[in-house]
């Protein structure tokens, strides 16, 4: 039988390693490490078609993630998709004439919103609940293939 002191130490080491493993999973395996948890502000964009965009999809500028999609709903009057995005407060200098487009990461990958900073003619920045006017919708692969096949058939 082990003496009590070594036993206590081993139990302590066991519990510590278990908690360390949980911590490792949280930080290294899951997305918790990439959360800033800080202040955010919301911007809105209205797309004709938001495709396969999901809540929590990334929002990026020049390939750098600056926020996440927080809600997607249908506008009843225009039958368009209204996408709300939470942007980290440190990126509060996006010009108000910026554009938003939905791209796909890779050919079949996840869809994300890319914000293209505008020239900033008015000198104003996007604020909380401001709306992006200059948008381009998701590219739907099936539509593209359909159009391509139609063009082929027409040109013959």
């Amino acid at each position: 039988m082990h003496n009590t002191k070594t036993q206590d130490t081993l139990v302590g080491l066991f519990v510590a390693s278990g908690i360390a493993a949980l911590f490792y999973m949280a930080m290294q395996v899951s997305n918790l490490g990439s959360y800033t948890g800080g202040e955010t502000y919301t911007i809105i964009a209205q797309f004709q078609n938001s495709g396969g965009l999901k809540i929590k999809s990334p929002v990026s500028v020049a390939g750098v993630r600056i926020g996440r999609v927080s809600s997607i709903r249908l506008d009843k009057d225009s039958h368009e998709s209204i996408v709300e995005m939470q942007i980290e407060s440190q990126y509060n200098n996006l010009p108000d004439d910026s554009g938003a487009s939905i791209y796909t990461a890779g050919l079949l990958g996840e869809q994300y919103v890319s914000i293209d900073p505008g020239p900033g003619i008015s000198g104003e920045f996007l604020k909380d609940r401001s709306k992006i006017d200059n948008v381009s919708s998701a590219i739907i692969l099936e539509e593209m293939i359909g159009k391509f096949l139609m063009n082929k058939a027409d040109s013959k």
């Binding site: 082990h2 009590t4 036993q7 206590d8 081993l10 139990v11 080491l13 066991f14 519990v15 390693s17 278990g18 908690i19 493993a21 949980l22 490792y24 999973m25 949280a26 290294q28 395996v29 899951s30 997305n31 918790l32 490490g33 990439s34 959360y35 929590k56 996840e110």
Partner: protein, 260 residues
């Protein structure tokens, strides 16, 4: 004919009686848990025999399960040119399913059977009734510390299993098969959600720890106090724990990840 009905009724009554006894046993055990908190030496001793001694089997199994997942996942995913998703596959299957389930099954085999045999032999050698004679409540003194130790150890063991498994998958996928290191971790972090995956996995292992400890201790306490009875009780612990873990896993998965 009458005999058939008689035996059928008897076994039905027997199983209900057992369910009732095990529920009462659980209530008494839970009632004894606060007393255990005030006597940490008993708890530490059980944590040692239940947790620390299971450490090696859990980590080694976790390593090999992760390595096999890396190998098999790579062969399947490379058919679709999606080797970069190997990290997601390994981590998701470990964190959601294999970590909690396999560690609970190993725990039942390694620690649960030992608990049943220990308590069964205590009963067979009349140590439990001896304690009662000395006005020591055997449930508070013997059962509750073991229950609490099992309940605490399983989530920790499951977390260790998953973590070592992910490292094993990384060793095989990135080290041997040449998956890109950055893509392995980045895709994993993009797809594994802390709340949805990690927390649910931990909840699963807590439930499994509760059930396996309960079954193991009850079978020991309820054993027929003979050599044969103890051996049967030990077998029942492993078999019933496996059923309970796998069945509960289906229900929990459907509740957590399904849209039912």
């Amino acid at each position: 004919m009458f005999q058939l009905f008689e035996s059928l009724g008897q076994s039905t009554r027997g199983s209900f009686a057992k369910l009732g006894r095990s529920s009462l046993f659980l209530l008494n055990t839970l009632a004894g848990v606060p007393d255990t908190m005030t006597r940490p030496t008993l708890l530490v001793k059980q944590l040692f025999s239940v947790g620390v001694l299971s450490f090696l089997i859990i980590t080694i199994s976790g390593l090999f399960v992760g390595m096999v997942l890396g190998l098999q996942g790579f062969y399947t995913l490379s058919d679709f040119g999606a080797e970069e998703s190997l990290g997601v596959m390994v981590a998701a299957s470990l964190v959601r399913e294999l970590g909690p389930v396999v560690s609970a099954l190993l725990f039942a085999g390694r620690a649960g059977s030992a608990l049943t045999a220990e308590i069964g032999l205590m009963k067979a050698t009349e140590q439990l009734s001896g304690m009662e004679m000395m006005a020591v409540d055997p449930i508070k003194r013997i059962i509750s510390p073991r229950f609490l130790a099992g309940f605490i150890s399983t989530p920790l063991l499951a977390a260790l299993f998953s973590t070592i498994g992910v490292i094993g998958g990384h060793m095989v996928g990135v080290g041997m098969l040449g998956v890109d290191d950055g893509a392995f971790w980045a895709q994993m972090q993009a797809s594994i959600d802390f709340q949805q995956d990690i927390i649910n996995g931990v909840i699963k292992s807590i439930v499994f720890g509760f059930v396996v400890s309960w079954i193991a201790l009850f079978e020991g306490y309820d054993t027929i106090p003979t050599a044969e009875g103890v051996s049967r009780a030990t077998t029942r612990t492993v078999v019933n724990s496996a059923f309970a873990v796998l069945g509960l896993d289906f229900i929990l998965t459907a509740l957590m990840f399904g849209d039912i």
